[in-house]
């Protein structure tokens, strides 16, 4: 018997009991929708957390904080850097040192107080550093500045320069010109009071590109290694720190780095590099590792939610079992006639299994549509309700519910399996119908 004819049979049978079939499909659809909506909360929150985490950080970046030697954590040295650069799939190893004090920069009658960082430009460029204008420094007294450096400059003589609300320099006191090719004076101190100072002339030759996120601010001045060492020599301390007591001073520059980042050449390689670095006793942090933990947690949560949702479908399957059992009983005389004229028991079984699958498929389709509609409503409505109830604004882009295709496939598969299983026994019963009893209408 052809599938097309089996399908015709099923439709004829369903037509005879529209109300009962409709109620069964409704129960299946509700079960399926419940499963999808429940699990979609897990998917939605995971998506929001992952998105939030990924947007804040560079995904191919691995931060290397220190190296563990005999139970102690030691700073990363130039030897470590050379070793890290040799690890497979490492694109670049950037190393930065932050100056131990905040210098004062003056440009004509404007001044600013912001961090100074020494960077290794070849590795920075290899890691993807780009300039919005200008070029990279070519000699020691040339610097590049962060995109927002000019916002930090204000008129030296002014008072109450900062806006109380935003804590930014008020518009009227801001530097209006272009900092490119300007010479700035960096003043560093040897002591807290600033009795002994040194002024270093620096030329701004480039401005870094704007940070990826709107709320990120880059106001740093990127000085050369030579200037950094010059400050260290002046302060007599590692990193140019203002030492509390003169006897705490340690003179000379150590080849160690505060901020070391390893960049993988592709996302897939990150985890492998992290593993290698762990084996070498480096303390690392990467967003991918964090993602793995987040994903593991959410996978467990989603599996739990799907399991709870499946219970709803199992309850719906009782309805399908009931419907199919009634259908077999009602159609027993027809089944008897079909068997008498030569219908194979396998064909009879297939017809009933197809009927329960048909209910399952229609239920799953309706359930999926309802789930999508519910998901949209939840994503629009819930933040509004929460904002009204608690008066707090929800984070931008927060998704409570998300229905990926994989979830739909999982739900539809579960729905189909449950409905087919619930149709199995009635279908088997149909094949066991006694021809003679059925034709005598004794069943």
């Amino acid at each position: 018997m052809r599938y097309k004819d089996k399908y015709r049979f099923i439709r004829q049978n369903i037509k005879k009991n529209r109300a009962r079939t409709f109620m069964t499909i409704l129960a299946t659809a509700m079960g399926c929708a419940f499963l999808i909506v429940l699990a979609s909360v897990g998917y939605g929150l995971q998506q929001s957390v992952v998105k939030e985490t990924l947007e804040d950080q560079v995904v191919t970046q691995i931060q290397v904080h220190a190296k563990e030697v005999d139970g102690n954590f030691e700073a990363i040295t130039i030897e470590d850097i050379e070793k890290l650069e040799k690890v497979e799939h490492v694109k670049a190893v950037t190393r930065r040192n932050q100056l131990g004090q905040i210098p004062i920069y003056t440009l004509d009658n404007y001044k600013a107080e912001t961090m100074a960082v020494s960077a290794h430009y070849p590795s920075e460029v290899a890691s993807g550093l780009e300039l919005s204008e200008g070029r990279l420094p070519e000699n020691p007294n040339e610097v590049v500045v962060g995109y927002h450096f000019s916002d930090k400059l204000f008129i030296d003589s002014a008072e109450n320069v900062y806006d109380e609300e935003t804590n930014e320099v008020k518009e009227e006191f801001r530097f209006k010109g272009n900092v490119m090719d300007q010479t700035i004076t960096m003043t560093v101190k040897q002591d807290e009071e600033g009795k002994v100072k040194e002024e270093i002339q620096l030329t701004i030759v480039g401005v870094l590109e704007k940070p990826g996120r709107e709320w990120m601010i880059d106001q740093d001045v990127y000085i050369s290694q030579e200037v950094f060492e010059q400050i260290e020599t002046f302060t007599g301390s590692v990193g140019g720190v203002i030492a509390a007591e003169p006897d705490q001073m340690e003179t000379g520059h150590l080849e160690i780095f505060d901020l070391v980042n390893v960049y993988a050449d592709n996302l897939e390689a990150v985890q492998g590099i992290v593993e290698t670095l762990k084996e070498e006793n480096y303390a690392t942090y990467s967003v991918v590792s964090e993602m793995e933990q987040i994903n593991t947690l959410f996978t467990i949560a989603k599996a739990g939610l799907i399991l709870v949702g499946t219970i709803a479908l199992i309850i719906a399957s009782i309805g399908i079992y009931n419907t199919m059992t009634m259908a077999v009983t009602e159609r027993a005389p027809d089944i008897g006639i079909m068997k008498a004229i030569g219908a194979n028991p396998k064909t009879i079984k297939q017809i009933f299994l197809l009927e329960s699958s048909y209910i399952g498929i229609i239920g799953a389709v309706i359930g999926t549509i309802v789930a999508y509609a519910t998901s949209v409503l939840v994503n629009i409505g819930l933040p509004m309700i929460l904002e009204m109830a608690f008066g707090e604004e929800m984070p931008e882009g927060l998704q409570f519910s998300s229905i990926p295709l994989s979830l739909v496939l999982i739900a539809v598969t579960i729905c189909l399996v449950v409905t087919i299983l619930s149709g199995m026994r009635p279908a088997k019963r149909a094949t066991q119908i006694d021809v003679l009893k059925a034709m005598r209408r004794e069943i």
Binding site: M1, R2, D5, Q12, K16, D334, G336, I337, M338, K339, A340, I341, G342, A343, N344, P345, K346, T347, V435, L436, M439
Partner: protein, 230 residues
């Protein structure tokens, strides 16, 4: 066509532990030749319907063997017997056994559908058969909208669609008036004559039995000697 050897059958009655055996057929041996019309007569309870049910494969014999077209059907599995029935045997029942939710056309088409024939071929065959049994104008009628004679003609048409070599008829005119009975018997004789189909007719009606080349009389589960030839 049909060879039956030492066929016996009994029914078990009562509950488990208190069962009683009711023998229905006792060592039947008979043959039906190709192209014959053989009538099996006997009183109610003689075992003639049980014989037909055993030949049809609706029940399995306690002892003995049944061969149809040389195939030992009494040993076939339920599924294989179903396939065999579909291919080789047509059925005409006393109470027509038409599916009420299907039209005359759909009822006749059913064996072809079960066999997996395509729609075009089905239409061609069913229309030809409808013409043969004179039901062209009633093809869209449901069984409840047809007279007894028309229903039996639908039943005959259904039995014919797959061009079987054997038709088993259980009291084919049992529910019909005498005029319609004559019509149906004429159709059976015509089909036998023109298509060479073998008929095994179970009846208690002597007049119906008369259309057969031979009559086999059954009494108390045994074939009565000396009354098989017509």
């Amino acid at each position: 066509m049909i060879q039956i050897k030492e066929l016996s059958h009994h029914f078990e009655l009562g509950k488990k532990g208190q069962k009683t055996i009711l023998p229905v057929l006792k060592g039947i041996t008979m043959e039906v030749g190709k192209g014959e019309i053989v009538s099996v007569v006997g009183k109610s309870g003689s075992g003639k319907s049980t014989l037909l049910n055993l030949i049809s494969g609706f029940i399995r014999p306690t002892e003995g063997e049944i061969r149809i077209d040389s195939e030992l059907v009494s040993d076939l599995s339920e599924a294989k017997f179903a396939d065999f029935r579909l291919e080789h045997i047509g059925f005409i029942f006393q109470s027509f056994q038409l599916i009420p939710s299907m039209t005359a056309y759909q009822n006749i088409e059913l064996p072809l559908t079960l066999k997996g024939e395509d729609e075009k071929k089905r239409k061609e065959i069913v229309n030809r058969i409808l013409e043969k049994v004179g039901l062209e104008d009633f093809q869209d009628h449901y069984p409840s909208e047809l007279s007894g004679g028309q229903q039996q003609r639908v039943s005959i048409a259904r039995a014919l669609v797959l061009e079987p070599t054997l038709i088993l008829a259980d009291e084919p005119t049992g529910s019909l008036d005498s005029e319609t009975e004559a019509e149906i018997l004429e159709i059976i004789q015509k089909l036998n004559r023109e298509l060479g189909i073998t008929f095994l007719i179970i009846t208690h009606d002597e007049e119906v039995a008369q259309i057969g080349n031979r009559t086999i009389s059954i009494k108390d589960g045994r074939i009565m000697e000396g009354v098989t030839a017509v």
